[in-house]
Structure formats: structure tokens, C-alpha cells
Symmetry: D2
Subunit: 335 residues, 4 copies
């Protein structure tokens, strides 16, 4: 096996992004795309190059020439498709979060385990060049045991009101990436979560019982501490920074700027902005996660980011929401 054959369920922004990458890489063959609506694919390069475009997922699930399914549909359908894929013997790449319900996720993961397929969760940031370098610095022991892990994660602008309503809330939609990243970097599990959250961007989040700004503090089983700061609106760009402070030093990853150009005049000394759009910022990471998934499948290796990772991140989102609601530290084993 030198190629992985793939079907995609869900042809929204992320589904199309994965599809484009698959079409440009020789180790993946994209055999079909399924969505509940397919009219938006008419006249695109997908229509020209992908053999099957359908509204019926069973066509992909029953296609014996397909090795793996990418689940890029809405979050509330993830677990349903995970189970269907597992039953069909397909390896699975599922976007984050797995679901909003712990029971659903656990049932789906149980089936995945029983039926022995591989499941990778789409925590793309683990594959970002800068964050991967931070991870390697830690695992190389260069900064010693982590004492404090800090993640700054701020979106450039709030999503649409429609999106907010179905997002599951900031902790599920946005912080979920940071929860995975902090577990990934810590290599220890979280013991407790505290939250200070606020509505500082008017009522748009508040009216859906959601927040727009938060400091999330985590204590780890190894005694170290983590802190995530989130905002739904960083007007200067997508702010994605990490700092891991340990007994032997500190490693930091700064933002990617649009260019390395500096302009100094009488009035000011100006740098270029951080990249604004998440697809620009994490373009390479989106590619690498798919590439590494394909390598794992082709070589019968474990996938680099598992269903268990998705489950733990989901638990952290649940704990954060509870900590915020009850204004108290929440132990992970309460969840």
C-alpha cells in the first residue's frame, strides 16, 4: 500500500481545504466527496477531478476501494459518522470537537476500539512548524520539566451570530484547540480547571449564554500549572502564541507576521501584522496533519492524535464551562 484512498463527508470550508491538499499530493487519492448540498461544488476543480460527488454517504461508506473517511460535517453528526465508518471498516479522520456530548463521544470511541480502525482528531495545531518546534524543545529536555505553560489564543474577529448559536460555546469551539495543545505540551493530564470569563464585546455572545473573553487556569497531575487566555476579537490579527517555562529555561513561539518588513519614519517604526485568517496561519499545519495521517495509515502506524486526545479535550471544555458557571475550580474526575 503506497497510497491512501479517501472519501470526504462534509464539503464546507475545511472539507474543501483537505480535498485540495489531497489532490496535490501523490500519497493520497481522493475518490469521493459527500455533502447534504453539492450545488456549491459545480464548476469547481473538485467536480473536474473527484470521481464521485454525492449527497449519499453510503456510497462512500460502501465503496470497498476507500481506505479512510474524513468527517468534516457539522459537529452534531460526527459521532454518527464515526460509528458508521468504524462499522464499514474505514479509518477515520474527524474534525474537532468530536461532539458536544460525552456519552456520544465515549460510545463512538468504544466502537472505534472494538472494530479496530484508526481515528485521528483534527487538532491541526500540533502540526504547526512553530508549535512542533516548541514540543521538540520540551521533549529534548532543553527547558527541563515544565512549570508554567501559557497559551495566548485570540481570534481576529467574532464569528457570525448564526455560527455562535451552534458553536457549542467558546470553550468547545475555540478553547478546545488550546486544551489539546496544553495537554500535548504538558505530557501530563489535567487535574483541575478554573475559569475567569467575561463578556466584553457587547451582548452577542452573552445572549447565547456564551463568553467572549477568558482566562483558564489548569493544574496538572505533575504539579505544574497552565494558563490559557482567549478572546474572540484581537483587532490586530490572529494571536497565537505559546510559552513553556521550565526548570531549565523557557521556550516561546511568537506569531507569524505577514512579512519581515519594518518601516521606520519620523512618525513611527512599523512591523507587519500577524497573519489574520486561520487558514493562512495554519495552512501548512492542515496539510501536515493529513500527510501524517496518510503515512500512519499506509505504514500501519499509530495516528499522531487519537480519539482519546479528542475525548480529553472535550472533558476539559466541559470542565471549563462548569468552572465558569459555578465560579469554582472543577476537578477533571468530576466530569
Amino acid at each position: 500500500m503506497t497510497k491512501m484512498t479517501v472519501g470526504i463527508i462534509g464539503a464546507g470550508r475545511i472539507g474543501q481545504l483537505h480535498a485540495e491538499y489531497m489532490m496535490s499530493t501523490s500519497s493520497i487519492e481522493l475518490k469521493g466527496i459527500c455533502d447534504i448540498h453539492i450545488s456549491h461544488l459545480e464548476g469547481t476543480i473538485f467536480e473536474q477531478n473527484v470521481p464521485v460527488i454525492t449527497t449519499d454517504p453510503s456510497i462512500l461508506l460502501e465503496d470497498e476501494t476507500i481506505d479512510a473517511i474524513f468527517i468534516c460535517s457539522s459537529t452534531d453528526t460526527h459521532c454518527y459518522y464515526i460509528e458508521k465508518c468504524a462499522e464499514a471498516g474505514k479509518h477515520i479522520f474527524c474534525e474537532k470537537p468530536i461532539s458536544f456530548s460525552l456519552e456520544e463521544t465515549e460510545a463512538a470511541l468504544k466502537k472505534v476500539k472494538e472494530l479496530g480502525v484508526n481515528l485521528q482528531i483534527g487538532f491541526n495545531r500540533r502540526f504547526d512548524t512553530h508549535f512542533r518546534k516548541v514540543y521538540q524543545t520540551i521533549t529534548d529536555g532543553k527547558v527541563g520539566n515544565p512549570h508554567i505553560i501559557k497559551i495566548t489564543s485570540r481570534d481576529p474577529e467574532p464569528p457570525s451570530e448564526e455560527y455562535i448559536q451552534s458553536s457549542g460555546g467558546m470553550f468547545f469551539d475555540m478553547t478546545i484547540h488550546d486544551f489539546d495543545m496544553i495537554r500535548y505540551l504538558s505530557r501530563s493530564e489535567v487535574k483541575a480547571v478554573s475559569v475567569a470569563a467575561a463578556n466584553l464585546l457587547g451582548d452577542c455572545f452573552k445572549k447565547y449564554d456564551d463568553v467572549d473573553t477568558a482566562i483558564i487556569t489548569l493544574t496538572f497531575e505533575d504539579g505544574s500549572i497552565g494558563v490559557i487566555d482567549n478572546s474572540r476579537q484581537a483587532v490586530y490579527g490572529y494571536d497565537q502564541r505559546i510559552e513553556v517555562f521550565g526548570e531549565k529555561g523557557v521556550v516561546t513561539a511568537d506569531n507569524e507576521r505577514l512579512s519581515n518588513v519594518q518601516v521606520a519614519t519620523k512618525e513611527s517604526v512599523i512591523l507587519d501584522h500577524p497573519k489574520y485568517f486561520f487558514l493562512d496561519r495554519y495552512k501548512d499545519a492542515f496539510h501536515k496533519e493529513v500527510q501524517q495521517f496518510s503515512e500512519a495509515i499506509i505504514n500501519h502506524q499509530p495516528v499522531p492524535c487519537t480519539g482519546e486526545d479528542g475525548l480529553q479535550a472535550q472533558k476539559l471544555a466541559i470542565a471549563a464551562k462548569l468552572a465558569w458557571k459555578e465560579n469554582r475550580p472543577v476537578l477533571l474526575n468530576e466530569i
Copy 2:
């Protein structure tokens, strides 16, 4: 009045630092130094240049030619001397923290108020070039209302065991500066404090019921959030950074490095270290706080950092200790 005349009580490291600066500036005349031990001043420039060196504070307090007293003695004597100075009609510059006891501080401040002398607390970092620029950026409205204020404050190495024992604990000894800074930058009062703290540097702090690492989260009355991260040991240098994120942007102050030199070789690209010693990092700030105190006294203006500021920082240290002990958010009005 074109000069302020001064006596110093307490000739330790900070007392001597202030004395040296006073001797180099034309607007201050240092008339006397008092300490319980004075043998360490023999043969120094102080002996040569300061008219009175004594172990008896009443000599300074009763000297009618002295306008102001600098209290640089140990914390447990601060309130005693504040009251004595107020009774003697002297203006007061007192090192931080005012005391370990809220009752003592409040009594001392009451006397200061009744007797109408000026009292400035030695929160020198307010006078640091970089942090002052952050403050001005905020007050100029350039980043809008603050949403998240972050302070990183890490010492390069732990103090001696003897010092730890009498320090009052990390929140009183070290975080007190950050509590003042975050109030100064926020321009709103703190409503509640949460703490995640740890002992990650062995037992040296633990055995005195103290911590060495902490994340302190603060919610402010204006709805914004603050977070301070502290460590007693940043092996790469004194780590002193600030970030204020607001509705219109973000302002950050980075560390001062030993030099702006970069060396790139086949093996590595190396920058110089952050300054290591607090007296190097904040040398100018120590000078400026004294200069501005003298200007306020000479011109009958309010001092830039008051007893009330000292009291609020002390309350925050008490709240942080309680929040840590009881592992819960503590409201400031509980204190």
C-alpha cells in the same frame, strides 16, 4: 524651597541605593542615615559625605532641617516609623510592603492622613521607562478599554533561606509589585482573586508554608480580567514582561537585554540574556521614583504612589494567600 532635605532609616541594599542617588542629584540633600548597625558604612562614600550617621532614629526625626524620611528598614518596623515620622511632621517615602498586618497599615495610614504629611510607597516599577510607556499607551486610549492584563514576573533565583523565612511569603514579598502594577495599569479595582500555586523548586519554600510558582487570576470591577504568573527561579534571567490587551489593540513591554547583540553561527543564533539583577533592571526606576517624590514634596503636589496604593496591594496579597489556602476565588471585600 528648591531642595528636599532627607534622612534615611535603614541602610541596607535599598537604603544605600537611594542614598547614592540622592548624593548625585542637586534637588535632594541627604542629611543623615540611621541604622541599627552602622559599622558597614565605615570608610564608604556615605561616611565621607553624609553629615549624620547614627543608630538613633530620633536624631533624624527631631532634626528640624529634615523635610522627609525614607523608611528602608525591615518590613516589621515600617508602620512604627511611619507613625513616628507623621508625628514629627516629616514627609515619608516607605519601601514596600507597608506591613504584613492590615490593622497596622490602616492605623499608620490614618495617622498619616490626620497629620497631613505625604506618604509615597516604593513601588518603583511604576517609574520604569517601559512600563510607564505601557501606561501612557493605555491612558492615551490607543488600545481601548483593557480586556486582559498579563504580567510575567519571575525572579532569576530564589532568595536565601533566611530571607524566605522573614519575607512574608511570595505574595507579600514578590507578587506585591505585580499587584500594584496591575491596579496601576487597570485603573479599576480588583473584585476577586483566584490562585493556582505550586512548589516546584524542592522544599525550600514549602517548609515555610510558602510557594515558588503561581498563576494569580484577578477579575476587575470594570469586568476585565488580569493574570500574573510568578516563579522564584527563571534561570535565564529576571523576566519582567507586561501585556495589556484591549478592545482596540494590545501593548506589550518586553525584557531589557544586556545588549542588542546577536551572534549567528552554524550551531545557533544567539541573543544576549535579559538583565539578571533587579537593581540593574530597575536602576533608572529607583532613581525616578525618588526624583518624582522630591518634585512632589518641593512643589507641594500629590505624590505619585500613595499609602492607599500600598494598602490595596497588601489586601491583594492577603486575598491571594487566602485564595491559595482555601482553593477558591476570594472577593476583595472579604478582606
Copy 3:
């Protein structure tokens, strides 16, 4: 016309790079590759996807369905193929330098002009994100009229001895890019060239009457001054920086690093290295120059970097060599 159809002559490193990009973009259709040797293409994605792979250039030149030819063969064949392409009515993209002989270049450009085809020269750096931003800063008038233009351009390691022998010398092989860039940024023509050059990397260049290190100073017709510094060996990575200093300010483009990660320990504060390999550093620029060529051809617009640009850069290389040999400023109109 919504697509440009292309044949490539010369399937070395650059030819293959262009071919790969063409295969990934929908606006270009790669119809054939020609090289004097084609065995190295067996079993590659080119063999699988490109309709014609041949050793006979006439097959591409005579193919009426081909709009444009990319000339990526060795420099001594460029002018021959430029003329052949022009005669066949093909638009031309030719790698730099056009040739080592001014007469040959002028004859080829004459034919291109007579026969009315488009010719773009492969000065890819004009399309680099950072340098393009420098250019726009200048054309936007933000730094005013340029007074001093500085280019630092240093290769990470010397090429092979075989390459050195046929390279035409450092000025033709390496500085040619900088000559084009400085003309591009200056928007004024060069009046005179001076050179201080050296052999500091042993004899490997000297024995072919070549240099490995140089400072090239240029005076422009508008009175401004330029300076290029070159080295064949920057052990810390590919060093590619630009600075344009003008009456209203200065704009600089710094190197791209492998990551934005910084590691601070007791021993050192380390940044990541500049990118090492020119294909990594300029990957996007190589893509963009091809993309803009295709857009120009499809839309019947002028190409962004013409034969005249190639000619001027070649004249500057000739002038630099003469200035070095005769140790004197050489006027461009001597060439």
C-alpha cells in the same frame, strides 16, 4: 483563453520546480518536458502526468497547442532557444542570466521584439513577499526618494567546483539577482559601478579567476547610492536582506527564520536559523513569478520582468567584473 499551455526545455532542479508548480495550478497546463537526458525523470510524477517527455526540443517548439516555453537549460543555450521560441511564435520564460555574451543577448532580444512574443526573465526575488512589500513601501512614497539601497546576499555554502567553473563567475551567477533587485527597487538606472572583492575561502574560486566575497558600490542616475555585499559562504544560513534608506525613512526586509521559536536557558537565548536552502527561502517567489507570467500571457498584459531587465542586469555583471579587474569605477555607458 483561461489557461496557458506550456513546454519546458531543461529538466534540472529549476525546471522540475516549475513543472511541479504548474501541475498544482489550474491556470497552467504542462504539455511537455524536453531535456538532453530524460532517464532521471523515469518513475517520477512527471512521467505519470506530463503527456510528452522528449529529448527533441522541436517537438515542443512545433506543437501548436503550446503557448509558452520555459527555458531552464544551461545558460549557454538560452539565447539559441530564445530565438527558436520567438521564431515559433511562443512566449518565453527564460532563467537568469540570459547569457554571458552581450552580443548574443542583444541579438536574441532583437528577435523577440521583432517577432512580438513576450519574454520574462526568471528574477524570482522580485516576487518574494518581503521584497515585494519593500518595493510597495517605496512606490507608496513612505520612505521618500531612496538615498542608500543596501542588499546583503550571501549563500550558505559554496557550490561544487564543477559548478564554479561554468558559473560565469560570482557576478554573473549570484550578484546578477542583486543587480536586478537593486534596479527594481531604485527605479533609476546605474551610472557607475565599483568593486572591492576578495578570495577569503581558500583557492577554490581564485583558481577560476573568480572571487568569493565582494562589496559592490553603485551610483544611480538620480544621485542615490547602492551597495551590495556578497559572500559565497554564510555558515549560519542563506542571508538575504534588503534595506532602502530614503529622505523620509528606512524600510528593511529581514531573513525568514525556520521558526519563530526562541529558547532561553542559563547558557544562552537562541533563535532559529535563517532558512538555509534557496528553494525553501524563495519557494513562494518561484511560484508567484510563474503565476504572474501565466496571468500576463492569458490576459495579454506586459510581463512583470522583461528581457530589457535581463540585459541591464547582465551589463551590471560585466561592469562589476571590469571594475574588479581594473580596480576603478566603471561607467555603465562603457559597457
Copy 4:
């Protein structure tokens, strides 16, 4: 001898700067100041603290309690006072340049040598923290033998017309510092000098047969190359950078900014400006050069920057002027 006693001749900006520093340091005793005009010193701290303020230099020269004289008068008087000081047996600190005439300088240095006094030239930049670190990086062998040394040295704004007239021209007044620095860093002597210079700031320099912008290229006896770029007007601040590129790497010193603060908004990401005024930028360096002079005198050690250094810098200025006038490389041994 634990203190050096000093007289200052010339109480302009630099003379006063040195005087202030001397008054704040315990290893120097300032015994007298002489200037042709002394009314501007009335009511200053100098009048209050310096025993002798006089218009008669012989009072200082004949004062047997004075060890050293600082010559801070106008350049055309330097050599006269150097000889007078040497005859009086005084050690000498002389501001740069020594003179505009090679004959005068050589005669003065001859007398200094014969009479065995010490002479330090005021090339303060050698004592700058950043440049000193560059120097140490080189002498530690970290970047190997230098191949290219680059100095960027640009004033924030042109001096007054009156100053320009008596400045001796840009090479003598401004580049002289860079000539000394490049010799200091190279540790090899210059063999030849080339210049490309321009008048880009209107006629203010041109009418005094002077230039405002220049690229000066130097070849060293060890085969390496240096380049200095100068401008009389960098509107964004005093631009003082150094880069030494060698066989094993590169070391750079960047500008000092007014603060380490960065402000990012929707419109821009802004850094603070480089320091603007040379007395701010080099304040510490001015102090350190005096301190090291005093240490050398007190401990009977050689001074760190000699008359020979002053002479060589002067020769380079002469060579640069000739190279510019005759538009050709000038050999140092022509001078």
C-alpha cells in the same frame, strides 16, 4: 594614587558632560575648568563644586596637583594644548579628531611620546556596551576571521550651517568615529579606501564642498573588506549599527530603542524609535571612556585608545576625502 585629579579645557557640551560625570565618581577629582568664555557656567553645579573656573589655561597647566587635562576645546586648538600639556607633564584626554592637519597631529604625537605622558583620544563608541560586546565576540573567535565589516552610521538631522562650515567635512567630523570603529573591530590596518558620496539633502553641505551621504569601502591588509554607510539625516532617529561577518558566523549590534514597548492595533504594529540624540545613545560610553582613562592613569596602565589610533583615523578621513575628490581608490600609504 587612588584618585586622578583633572582639569578640563573647553566647557562646551562635551566638556560639561565629562565634568558632570567626574563629579559623580569617586575615582576622579575635578579641580578646574577653563574656557575662553565662562559666563555660561555661572549659577551651575560647576560653579558650586569646581574649585577653579578660569579663562586662563596656564592656571590648570601649572597646577602641580593636577594629573590630567581633558582637551574639549575646538579642534583647531587640540594640538596646541596637547603640546602644552605634554610639556607640563600632564596626561591627556583629547576629543576627536586630533586635528585637521596631519603635520600638526604628527608633531603633537611626537612631543607626547618624547615627554612620556599618556594620551587618550575620545573615541567613545569603543566603550559602548553593544559595540564592546561585538568586539569581544570577535576576539573570542566566535565568528572567525572577519570577511566583511559593515557600519551604518547616520545622524538624525544635519547640524547647523555654522557647524558645517567649521566641521572639517563629513569624513572628519562624523565618519572619523566609524573609521576608528572599523579599525578597532578589524584589528588589521586599512590598505585602500574608495568612496561614493552624494549631496541628497539640498545644497547645505554642497556649498561648503562637503557631502551628506556616502558609502565608504575599505580593503584591509588581511584581505577582508569593510563598508561604512553615512547620512547626515535619518529622520527616524540616530542609526548606529554594526555587523561583522566572518568565516564562522556573523555578529550584529542593533540600535537602542527608547523602550521595548510594542503596540499592535488594527492599523499598525508599532515599535518605539531608536534613541535620537547622541548624548542619550552614548551616555554610558562617554562615562566609561573617562572611567577607563582614569583607571589607566591611576594604575599606570596603557590607555585603551591612543594617539596613534587618532592619527590613523585622521589618515582615513584624509584618504576618504581624496578618494571622493578624485573618484578612485586611494592607498593609505599615499597619505
